[in-house]
């Protein structure tokens, strides 16, 4: 599905020859791409390819070793300002299990300096259909519901860039639909999205761009109107085999 919205304006993500080493091992070995408003990059690749590392660098959790990366025009490491523009979703929920969904999302809202905390929290929980169990401790919720809360938490401050590392993991059908719809809404509103997923169909349904990563670099990178799902499938399988 190709992108039908205009993605004008300065790019939200600009990455050039980005590398990140851990000792002698290069988890990112020269990544280059950019992503504009309303664009969504679906990132595929075998485990250990560097997808999570790339997201963690963009989220401000890791420093680049060399090369350059910009988020919303801010050079990384960009400190608090860069981090405030980003929302991070992971397969780890990053929640406090003793607290309720409402408390978890409110806490995040306060950390990000959100103005209208209560209203934004309610809105975020509603979009992920978590209002009903909003006051039960997260510990008592199912994995799928916890993941929904985690997503609500990541969006409460209306980030310009959403980094989603296997966001569909643990979600049931209802949750997956809610997530896809939410990501679609965000894209229309101009948010840039990077989705890491093993599910080709889900990833490509939202994507305006797609890439396959292997051993720290992009081995394939295409804008949406040139994505051929079958060809992608093949490259992905090759990458998995060759990893």
């Amino acid at each position: 599905m190709s992108s039908t919205i205009s993605s004008g304006g300065p790019p939200i993500v600009e990455v050039a020859e980005l590398t990140r080493a851990f000792g002698t091992r290069r988890a990112l070995a020269g990544v280059t791409f950019s992503l504009g408003r309303g664009e969504c990059l679906a990132l595929f690749g075998p485990n250990g390819a560097g997808k999570t590392t790339l997201l963690r660098v963009l989220a401000g959790l890791l420093r680049p070793s060399s090369g350059s990366a910009r988020v919303s025009g801010i050079q990384l490491p960009g400190g608090a300002l860069a981090r405030s523009r980003v929302g991070l979703i992971s397969h780890r929920t990053m929640l406090y299990e003793a607290l309720s969904p409402r408390e978890n999302v409110s806490f995040a809202a306060r950390l990000y300096g959100v103005r209208d905390v209560n209203a934004r929290v309610e809105d975020s929980l509603r979009r992920m259909s978590m209002l009903e169990r909003g006051d039960a401790p997260v510990r008592s919720l199912s994995r799928g519901m916890q993941q929904r809360v985690s997503i609500a938490r990541a969006m409460v401050h209306t980030p310009q860039l959403v980094l989603a590392d296997e966001p569909y993991s643990g979600l049931d059908d209802g949750g997956a639909r809610a997530l896809t719809s939410l990501l679609g809404e965000l894209r229309s509103a101009g948010t840039a999205i990077i989705v890491v997923t093993h599910n080709l169909a889900e990833g490509l349904s939202l994507a305006t761009h797609a890439a396959v990563m292997q051993r720290g670099r992009f081995v394939r990178y295409d804008p949406a109107d040139r994505i051929d799902a079958t060809a992608y499938s093949t490259t992905y399988r090759e990458a998995l085999a060759g990893a």
């Binding site: 851990f22 000792g23 002698t24 091992r25």
Partner: protein
């Protein structure tokens, strides 16, 4: 086998010093033969603190430059330092018992500070052993190395205040001896030879660390 100059000279210096101290340095009037442990105890203490000072400095520079060679240096200096510190803690009571009538002198501020130095060294090594990731291990050890350096003056001050406020019955505590030239010379020689020994051990330990890390990196790469 290639003969390395540093350990050879250091070893020879220490042996020469020990011989001089045992046979060619006069006995101290009040303390007798037991006083000769002094020539092991004091230089060992000097090295123990020198080694930790270098751990703290290289830790600080590591946090600034993030060069793993500095981390290896700190690690090596710590392991060598703890050995010398142990020597101080063993020779201390050996010296104290015949002379002061007590194994452990809580009012001896330097000795107690050395005991805490030993605790910090040991916790430094246990910390390193408990972390698998090299960059995390280096960062954490560096923080501990620097904070440990801040702690030592506080320990020193606490024990000093404690000792001055609680005069304890001491059997024959000697006042600070003024050393005649013969003894002073032996002391200087022992300080110098122990320092050489420290650098010899340090270099050997550092080389071991380099090889160990190279092997680990090779295994990592192949994996």
């Amino acid at each position: 086998m290639k003969i390395s100059w540093l350990p050879t000279i250091a070893g020879a210096a220490v042996i020469a010093t020990v011989i001089r101290a045992a046979f060619f340095t006069p006995l101290e009037a009040k303390q007798g033969a037991a006083q000769k442990i002094f020539y092991l105890h004091v230089p060992a203490a000097w090295v123990a603190f020198l080694a930790f000072f270098l751990v703290a400095v290289s830790s600080g520079v590591y946090l600034w430059l993030r060069d793993s060679r500095l981390d290896r240096f700190a690690e090596s200096s710590a392991e060598v330092g703890v050995v010398f510190t142990t020597v101080v803690l063993i020779t201390g009571p050996l010296w104290a018992k015949p002379i002061w009538g007590t194994y452990w002198a809580w009012w001896d501020v330097r000795l107690v500070s050395t005991l805490f130095l030993w605790f910090i060294y040991v916790s430094y090594m246990v910390l390193r052993g408990a972390i698998e990731s090299p960059p995390l291990r280096a960062r954490y050890s560096a923080v501990l190395g620097i904070l440990g350096a801040f702690l030592i003056p506080f320990i020193h001050l606490s024990v000093y205040l404690f000792a001055t406020m609680h005069p304890m019955p001491i059997v024959g505590k000697p006042s600070k001896p003024s050393l005649p030239n013969e003894m002073l010379l032996t002391l200087m020689l022992s300080l110098a030879s122990f320092t050489l020994l420290y650098f010899a051990f340090l270099r050997a330990r550092y080389r071991y660390a380099v090889e160990r890390d190279a092997v680990a990196a090779a295994i990592d790469h192949d994996a």
